[in-house]
Subunit: 283 residues, 6 copies
């Protein structure tokens, strides 16, 4: 499909499955290293989701990892320990702190691109899904997984508090703050059933392939609705997570004061009455 | 019971069950249209809950829907598409936006009356409970349902993002943000068990009648406690939802600095010792 | 163990189990009164956790209650009704309110010491765990319990809204706001399985002894990790609970700009490669 | 002018000056009592500004007080002390607190109607402008005054902290928090020059008449601009006062995404080029 | 006066001037070192204001510095550079950061005691009022000064960003953010007139003695009002500074629901009618 | 100076004055069009300030406009009306709103680069400084101007509410909210003295040249201080503007826990004692 040609990526594969219209399938493509991330990869990830965000031929996105072993083993610790984690040796600690702060901020920004992306993002995870894998999937909208998944908020095991999003987002995603505290301070592995029980994932599937298929189906379903409605819903839910109900209602009223002026409303209403599938213009 | 006469409603029935003292039972009364809402209905709903809020003979409220088919099918789409959703045709888009914004804000305010009501509100749902039914029940304190319930955040199916409260309140009611994203962006139906699992409802009952009975029993239990304590609890929980723990503690201390100066404290303590039911003055 | 001698407590026992390095085990020690709290006790509790917070030989804390009957029956209502709940009788209501407000604020501050404590705190509960027991355990990081536990947000039964933390913290700990509303407005007892289902406790054990053992094991696991990483994780999670994701990310970047400049990082990485247990300096 | 007939007010006069198109001039009309307020007056004030807010023939509002002596002497203390300040004598203090809280909240809401009003409100003050006069004018957008004005945050002189808005709004209106503290805790009189210096008023005029004329001219100037632009400006400034810059920018972008779709833009641009006065449609 | 005996201070003098009833005059008492602060001093300052806060014989406080040269030269840099600024030399930078953070937090807490103090605090400054002198006076309610005062946000001159309150409070006290930026990033001296113009001080007096006298008079005026009203005003203004107007109004309504139940209201009203000075009970 | 060569700009001139070490002087370079902005210009502005932010040879920045007539006339209305203000004509209003929202957000982001820039930015304004000129200078730290300056929040005159930052930032920069309301809703011109009085500018100079010289001197003074201290001060002041005092203190303590670990502290202290100019390492 020609749309794929627009995406010139090195560490990710971008496909547009024929059977799921308006759906982009992004795959982390470093299977030989269990999809571990180094700096060039997260920079590319950020650019990729910025581009997907405004691409009118995309209405929903699935993110998964190549290979059978891992969604991602997280940060490529070897690369990191040779790179930014070392810092400039002759600077004083305040100056090193500035370097670290800038680096963390720009790293966070790449992952936040997934949250900022205007289209819904569904992550399908399997195998090892550690550390940065939790940061990354927490920035997405929906998470599903294969039964073999092994999750861990792994960062304390390498001597640091997770700083790319997990500690800010995970407590707002799942329903037990005590559970978040436990997994983040012990770094213990947890599996698919536990992730489902606490609400981290929406569903568990038999295999990597089935998890991806299910994610693509869910994405296709979202992509079949009015993009004005779906993208507005993502924005309003993310806004509400971080604001009071009152602020949320006010922002919603302003948002919909424009969004209701769409032809999608009539298209959706009519097709509902006429029992046919509506068509919506690009967004 | 004479208290009922105070409530002169057209689209809702207000009963004061003899066996549940201080409990008001409100029923949406448009069963032939599956209790679908049009403008006059939500305006009356707002007025009704404003009145209940200050009625000293009411200490807890149950809300349900008449007829076997639906708690409510949501917005009466036909009425809406003939009314406010059309807007004035000759105004420019900015002026139409003003009309929409005012309309949404006043609609939101009617539903928020349920949250603002000083007394606890328990919603008993059954059958179709769609769209506005989610907005409405999310503004209540406790939700229970019958096994046959069919829930859906239906708005994207008619081309719009839910704007009467669901997107602001639902993420703060249930324990899985990913699940909220899924149901709000797919509009898919979900049932009683799923609603229980994610924490949207507190309990599931065999039938509409049993759900309503259970709701009335829970309301009666709340109504048997000190109204100073119960109404303070509702206010403090709603405040805390939207503020930091620190702010919550500060507000709580100020609130209780007056609330502890109640005779209910002694009444409750004594009746505890004497193993009898306490009586509390009107509030 | 000599470290215990540093803790000169009257109503609590502080032990440093030989088999769990860097773990402090605090026990409420008023078993004959079901560990009910009076003012001198919560003042001592606050002081104790302030001391533990800065003790470099402590990296994780377990809190439990002595005796088989109760973690704590909550507030010692008899002592309270003879003391602060009465107030000065000749002052006007505004002046009484000032007395109450100051009293509540200083009471809250003692319990908040558990949350403010820089080290993770795991509470192991059994038997009656009522009222103040919920306020107290909600200020901890992780809660586990024995199968026989009987929880209740008991305050409305004595005529008041819970004001020492439950209403501010409980909604942010568990995944169902409706459930919080129900238990806080009915004061009904709930058990171990229900507490697990809503996410209030992380796990249920067969007995008090097993719950405490499990809590000690979890504490030991946390204490075996880098204290820079674990204590940073606690701080960042608590900060994020009360702030937007964006604010959380910014605070995290600043925090880790110093925290990453620790030898623990190298120690953890090397020991990971060399398959041995890392040693971390005091903090 | 016929528009005036739409306003059926008892305690306020509403005029539409012929020389200031789209400007409503509201005057407090109880000169014999120095325009002191009792309950029926502030209820009418709230209703009046709610009506003005949506009246398409109004684009700016001037508020002043009848008679030479006072803009307003504030609360009619005699009426208040016979009315709500007494409370029901047989209720306990917690129940009285509920009555007071409801009363204050509804009183605040009437005054907040001035802030909520979508059109700019300019207050022209003279003579005594005490207590409630500060609450009221702080809810407006612009304040001007006559040289003879006598301001005071008078409430501590009658034994209470100002509770109808002054303490929440005044610190956000003027540039010296220390000055706010002083005038609010001493209740001392301050005059026109001092009010100008701290930024409470925008300008000082020789007399009541000149202050009102100047206010009408300023209102006419605002009314001559695009109402989409002016009303958006009021909303965005009020929003920004209470939010972070980042939140303000986000809300602004959403607001203007609809507001820029107005014909006023072209009308304003063209009339600028053609050096003529633009005409804008009703809003 | 016997009340003075209650205050056993080493670095501060506490007087109760006979001519200003209910007023405490606190003086920094290290004139030979230009009232420069070392750790024991700020710890005592914190304890002193905590005690004043609850002392029923105190209704307003004046703070000044002994000697003609300085209100305070700020931090005793010599003592600081030998003490906490050095840190433990063998710890890694993350551990040193923990020590610094704890130290700053406890230092801040001592200065915040002035803000937390329930009674109004008026600072009278003269001569050098540098660095910590700005942090300290910014935590007070009202600032006045002598004509000879020399202010500076001095911290950048010793290589650090002010961290004891100036950067958090100064922008909320004065009316020009650009001016705050300038003085905080240049550390330049500014005088009495400039401080008055930007709203940092309320008034300028000819000499140290006259500034103190004026501060005592202002304090006496505040102390002559209802303490329920004055202390409520301080609390509500401080709350409002950090919250939205809407939150401020809500908190105010709850606060006054108890505070209006005071005899001071009648006392103040009656004495107003009878033209005599009211007497208020202790608080 | 060679550093200039690093800046390859088209619409701005970047100079490094020999007499002001570490100071960059940026000039808007479109004098023939009164420095009016079109899209390519603000994109370049954003990139330029992002680069300056991390350039270790830059410690303070001055921004001014080329030519005698204007700092900037604001938005190039002609270019705008041919470009983004038109929108795609065939899209429905909701889709147009999406285009506008994206455009405004990216425009805002370019201007916010000035605020985000880690180094202090001083703007020297003269002649026409309209519309976008207010948005832009409000994002800087300090504003000074020439006596001939003509300011206006000009946007309502072209039919829109200012959306690039003025409405969010101006109320937090100056001390009179009423004045902000007036100038933003009337679009009237205001001059240097008025700008000084309300705190918008820090100082007024006789001419453009003198304003720029004074700005360069102020920048040089800031650049002579420890960059760790100055850049920390900017960050902490900006953070505090948008957060409560309590949050500000907490963030400050964490920030300085790293920043105090700088050699600048010793360098500054020693040079103070030795009466010589300290040297600080790059940052």
């Amino acid at each position: 499909m020609s749309a794929e040609n627009n995406y010139n990526t090195k560490y990710f594969t971008v496909r547009f499955p024929a059977s799921q219209q308006y759906v982009a399938h992004v795959e982390i493509n470093r299977a030989d290293k269990m999809n571990a991330f180094f700096e060039a990869m997260w920079i590319e990830l950020g650019q990729l989701f910025n581009q997907l965000s405004h691409d009118p031929s995309v209405r929903a996105i699935v993110l998964s990892g190549a290979g059978e072993k891992a969604f991602t083993a997280g940060l490529d610790v070897k690369a990191a320990s040779e790179g930014f984690l070392t810092g400039e040796s002759d600077a004083d600690s305040a100056r090193k702190a500035t370097q670290f702060r800038r680096h963390i901020a720009s790293f966070q920004d790449c992952i936040t691109a997934v949250e900022r992306c205007e289209k819904p993002v569904i992550v399908a995870m399997h195998g090892f899904s550690l550390g940065l894998g939790i940061d990354l999937s927490s920035a997405a909208d929906v998470r599903v997984c294969a039964r073999d998944v092994k999750f861990a908020v792994k960062e304390v095991d390498i001597g640091l508090a997770a700083d790319i999003g997990t500690l800010s987002r995970l407590p707002k995603i799942v329903g037990s703050f005590g559970w978040v505290k436990e997994v983040a301070m012990t770094a213990r592995i947890f599996g698919a059933e536990e992730a489902l029980r606490v609400g981290f994932v929406n569903a568990v599937y038999e295999s990597r392939a089935k998890a991806i298929d299910a994610a693509l189906e869910m994405a296709a379903l979202m992509a079949s609705k009015s993009p004005v409605a779906v993208q507005g819903t993502k924005e309003l839910l993310n806004y509400s997570r971080d604001h009071s109900v009152e602020d949320g209602l006010r922002y919603t009223a302003v948002w919909n004061s424009a969004a209701l002026q769409t032809k999608d409303l009539t298209a959706a209403l009519l097709s509902g009455i006429q029992k046919r599938t509506p068509t919506f213009e690009k967004l």
